[in-house]
């Protein structure tokens, strides 16, 4: 997962004008020319057209923009794209294998883990990170470790149920 020495690592003083860089998103390399001040979220949404990651608060408080960077969940609104030019970025668009949904996507549908759906991509990406971190998946643990992802519709009981189901399956 650690890719610091990958060829895409930017070196030297870059910007403030637009600079060329390559973002590896969902296994695909995307060449871009952007300023260093472009956040990872804006790069994904505005420059790559990957609008699954949502901009909720743009202040790192709601978690709607959660993506995985080298397998670790982060708020894409609180970091700059140039900082991740040599890392593997995974967004909600990269979870399904063709028509086969990721188990967490299936579980969110099965448990109705959303109302408006705006926070859902962030909830699911965060849940992927949660499971990868090796938590046991009790309701209390899910609520604690998913606390960075807010749902204004209040679908929390169903979100917890969806994640708990996948956590149980993973434990088997």
């Amino acid at each position: 997962m650690h890719m610091a020495s990958q060829p895409g690592a930017p070196t030297g003083r870059l910007g403030p004008d637009a600079i060329p860089l390559v973002l590896r998103v969902n296994g695909q390399d995307y060449p871009l020319v952007i300023e260093p001040r472009v956040t990872l979220l804006d790069a994904l949404r505005e420059h790559l057209g990957l609008t699954g990651s949502k901009k909720g608060c743009a202040h790192g408080e709601c978690g709607a923009c959660t993506v995985l960077v080298d397998g670790r969940r982060i708020n894409a609104c609180m970091t700059f794209a140039v900082m991740h030019a040599d890392q593997a970025i995974t967004t909600i668009e990269g979870l399904a294998q063709g028509d086969a949904l990721h188990p967490l996507q299936e579980a969110f549908i099965h448990h109705d883990g959303f109302q408006c759906g705006y926070c859902t991509p962030g909830q699911i990406m965060s849940a992927v990170g949660f499971l990868a971190e090796g938590h046991t998946g009790t309701d209390a643990e899910i609520r604690e470790w998913m606390s960075g992802n807010l749902c204004r519709c209040g679908a929390y009981p169903n979100i917890v149920a969806a994640i708990a189901e996948v956590a149980r399956e993973k434990a088997c």
């Binding site: 650690h2 870059l14 890392q87």
Partner: protein, 61 residues
């Protein structure tokens, strides 16, 4: 957000030298709360020095 230049520090002395050489430079690691300050205009920096690659911080963010 005001434009800024970016550089990635290779080691601690490199990071310190880069920030010390420029009055308006700042370190960036996780980005909280610096990105918020930059977005709200509470902070403006000519250069951000990324210290994520320094092993002393326990790896990349």
């Amino acid at each position: 957000m005001q434009p800024f230049a970016y550089t990635r520090a290779a080691d601690p002395s490199d990071a310190v030298a880069a920030v010390a050489a420029e009055p308006d430079a700042a370190f960036i690691a996780g980005g909280t709360e610096l990105v918020n300050w930059l977005q709200d205009g509470l902070a403006n920096h000519s250069l951000l020095v990324d210290v994520n690659a320094l092993s002393m911080l326990g790896g990349r963010v």
